[in-house]
Amino acid sequence: MRRITVKLFAHLRQGRFVSRDMDIAPETTVARIVEQLGINQDEVGVTMINSRHCSPDAVPGEGDTLAIFPLVGGG
């Protein structure tokens, strides 16, 4: 298993959490983690691993931080 930190933002926090450590099986993709959290793929706007944008197919490594955002805008 790999230990990662997952951070959620905006309405994705509702009924879930702000930040939590999770143990995931090696080769688990970002898309799979999103699914495990009960988040609809369409709701996800941006994902970052260690502050770099990543694709749904990316695989977080041991100690990584995965941040999941809905589609947001402003400026």
Partner: protein
Amino acid sequence: MSDRIFRVNMSDLSVKLEECPSQWAGLGGRGLTSSIVASEVDPCCHALGPSNKLVFAPGLLSGTVAANSGRLSCGAKSPLTGTIKESNAGGTAAQMLARLGCKALVIEGAPAGDRWYSLRVTPDGVIIDTEEELVGRGNYAVAESVRQRLGEKYGVISIGPAGEMKMAVANISVKDPDGRLRSHGRGGLGAVMGSKGVKFIAIEPTDNTISIADPERFSRASRAFAQALAKHPVTEGLASYGTDILVNIVNEAGALPARNFTLGQFEGHDSISGETMHERIKERGGKVRHGCHKGCVIQCSQVYNDKQGRYLTSGFEYESIWAMGADCCVDDLDIIAEADHLMDDIGIDTIETSVAIGVAMEAGILDFGDGREALRILREEVAKGTPFGRIIGGGAAVTGKAFGVTRVPVVKNQAIPAYDPRAVKGIGITYATSTMGADHTAGYTIATNILNCGGHVDPLSKEGQVELSRNLQIATAAVDSTGMCIFTAFAILDDETCLPALVDMINARFGTDLAAEDVTSLGARILKTEHDFNMRAGFTAADDRLPEFFALEELPPHNVKWDFTQDEIDSFWDF
């Protein structure tokens, strides 16, 4: 009723109503303010002298029922940057001016002596009155006084004491539908209004409606446009969390400038985030969503109350919160809200002023994080125009010069806003090349660099950034001419029905036959017009540069520098 140019000469206190010349007929908003300034203002004039002109213009669709079309453009030569300037704001004024048949309000000349005036815009022209009572008063008092004198429904455009003192950070306030304030924030346009001796402009309410060449087509297009906006996911986030929703994502990306642009992440980001603001507004009985003008379907504004549940501020934006928050290391949202209220009232740009305070912190005048001292400086120095207050009131560049600071985040003397150009390289190109000085709204590459709107371009790579910034700057110049809020751009970037609906509304309003490419070429033409004004004012490619420290100092956490060559930046203008 045909749209006319309302021209007020403050030198001889005369008013003229002119038919709109045919070459300006297809222009509105920024396209019109920039065209008038470029053709009538000597680029080498003193921005606070009689040769400058202050121009207000509603957008092409302002005053119609088109969703989000109530933005007002204000233009002049900027006393802050020395360049041409357009700054747009919400509030009720754009829709009201448009319904009075006012295509543009041009204020020119300068009055003799120290007298102050008010202007009242009516369907028949403009009435000029002397004003004594409100001289020295803040924008909130002006809005309230005009309400008492003339009634609730009058529109109000005003300056605070900073505009009267002709500070380069001075903004222009516009009353919103609830009597709160919105601002033409950037570029010191409040000082230009002050130099014309105009304390406020009241706009008479009217029952007139805008004439539409093809009402049925308009209504079809307007429905499609509103639907595209309403269903875009960004709209939902903005309505719940405001623009402050950006604090956490920009921080996570390592691009939130903190401690006067020495860090890319702010330790206190959570306490100033949109999520925290949302909870606090709900607890205190404020309003999570609020529109700055009638017909807004995005509702990114809000009403933020203090601990006692009393109104503190509204239109509490990400940029303002970042500038007094992360940049000055103040992690108390209540102090930032109080500063926001004060700055609106004094009539100063929250970005320019707070970045100047950050530079003063760097100089050791006050400590990073000392929000109470920042409030005191606003209240007792800037609002009163003490010598130190006037240094801050001169903006970030003046403050840096006064105190010998080398890390001064400005382009063309205008403070760099809430995204570090080392960690979001596209926005760096926009800061460098914008005709307005450092301005994120001029070509908001954050959409594509960070937010995955309109695709994704890696923020840390140089690849594709010049082209991205160019395309967005051209599109933005066009959108800024329609009266549309810039946040419609998210839907325009992502939803293929949105732009055709916008173009269709313009065609139905004026009986024209424009295609999407015509709108793009309009944007390109506006940029060239503005750029040409700046060249005639003495600017060269050497001014399209970021401050040296961005190339010398690495920004954590990505440890990146600004690394574009001069030729790469200059290729922006190859169109």
